[in-house]
Amino acid sequence: MLDESKLYDAFSQYTQFVASRLPKEEDLQEISFSPRFEERMERLLQRQKRFYYPLINTMLKRVACIASAVLVSGSAVALSVYSNQKEESYFNVRNFSENGVYVHFFNIDLPYETTKDPITPKVPSYLPEGYFLKEDRSEPRKVELIYEGEGTDCFYYAQYGNSSDAQAYAEDALCERIRVGEYEGYLLKSESCTHLIFNDGEYLYQLNGTLTEEEMFKVAESIQ
């Protein structure tokens, strides 16, 4: 039987030696990365700036939270949706990248950050079978919850003050306008991920994960 503490000490000694044998950064010649590589990193930067990236990267193993924008022609890249007179916000779908689609939802009718007051938290009252709340990352002006199901199933829920915006990026996904109850929004779906964003006139809500479309709507409609 190996003595674990000695094994640990032995590895400490070994790593010490390995580290000492590796060249120092200052001794290595300067590297000029290829423009393609730099560009690739920049594109990935935009996509992975999203606050929900840790969820899709770590929990869903590269499940890309998708957005498939409607194709736009030439110079016109925006697709606007006007809600009825009761609702005071709409969504724009815009910004496309080479390898996928980048969709930006925002509210342009309300002043940006009109208040610093905490929001009234609203959470889904319905959870699909087997799901539980795994992590709560909420802040005074944002509700951010991560739910886990079986295996790698999970979904992310967020609620923001109405002056916030939400963004999504996807490849090979479909985008459609939808309604959650009486409120308009967008549904973005691909083979592996579904993304739902809607606005109830007071707050912006976002759901994304491996739920089916039907389950996603059930969760969204249960928010209270």
Binding site: K6, A10, F11, Q13, T15, M41, Y53, R137
Partner: protein, 178 residues
């Protein structure tokens, strides 16, 4: 390129640690990768993949000192390079490198630890890496599997084999040392 990596971390201190690691070790990672892959494109891909692994494990990396971080990055980079070569369907040498432990023995460590360290250096990298990541760096088998792009079952099997090999080698070394 750095801003991409920063965005993956969730806390400000994690982002600054990632920045620190990136600026401090990017040439080293590239150098290690290039020495294995001999192709600029592949080495860049390897650097990208290593940084993804760094970000995914930034919590543990924050607790590491410099020498541990360097050795950890060396393990990950080497394995990423192996993985890339496999994908290119090229034959990979069973032992891509060996840094001999001799000459680096710490006289302050007891003899048993020194012998064990020597035996660790003799292990094949595929066995040594899983043992080092789990025993020394504290990764779970699942985390290890994710880092090395192998299954958890493979990790467990290699751990068993690594420990068995170490025991055999220890017996031989102790007999030799007397």
């Amino acid at each position: 390129m750095l801003s991409f990596y920063l965005s993956l971390a969730s806390l400000p201190e994690e982002k600054s640690k990632i920045e620190e690691i990136y600026y401090k070790y990017r040439k080293l990672i590239y150098h290690i990768a290039y020495s294995k892959l001999q192709k600029r494109e592949w080495a860049e891909d390897a650097l990208h993949d290593v940084m993804l692994a760094v970000i995914s494990n930034i919590g543990k990396l924050q607790q590491m000192n410099e020498k541990d971080t360097k050795a950890f990055l060396y393990i990950i980079t080497r394995n990423v390079a192996v993985d890339l070569l496999r994908k290119e369907q090229r034959r990979v040498a069973a032992d891509m490198e060996e840094i001999p432990i001799s000459g680096g023995v710490d006289p302050q460590q007891d003899l048993g630890v020194q012998v064990l360290a020597h035996c660790i250096a003799q292990l094949k990298p595929i066995y040594r890496d899983v043992l080092e990541l789990t025993v020394y760096y504290g990764f779970s088998a699942k985390e290890c599997a994710s880092l090395l792009k192998i299954s958890s079952v493979t990790v467990r099997k290699r751990l068993e084999r690594a420990r068995a090999l170490l025991k055999e080698q220890m017996k031989e070394e102790e007999l030799y040392v007397g």
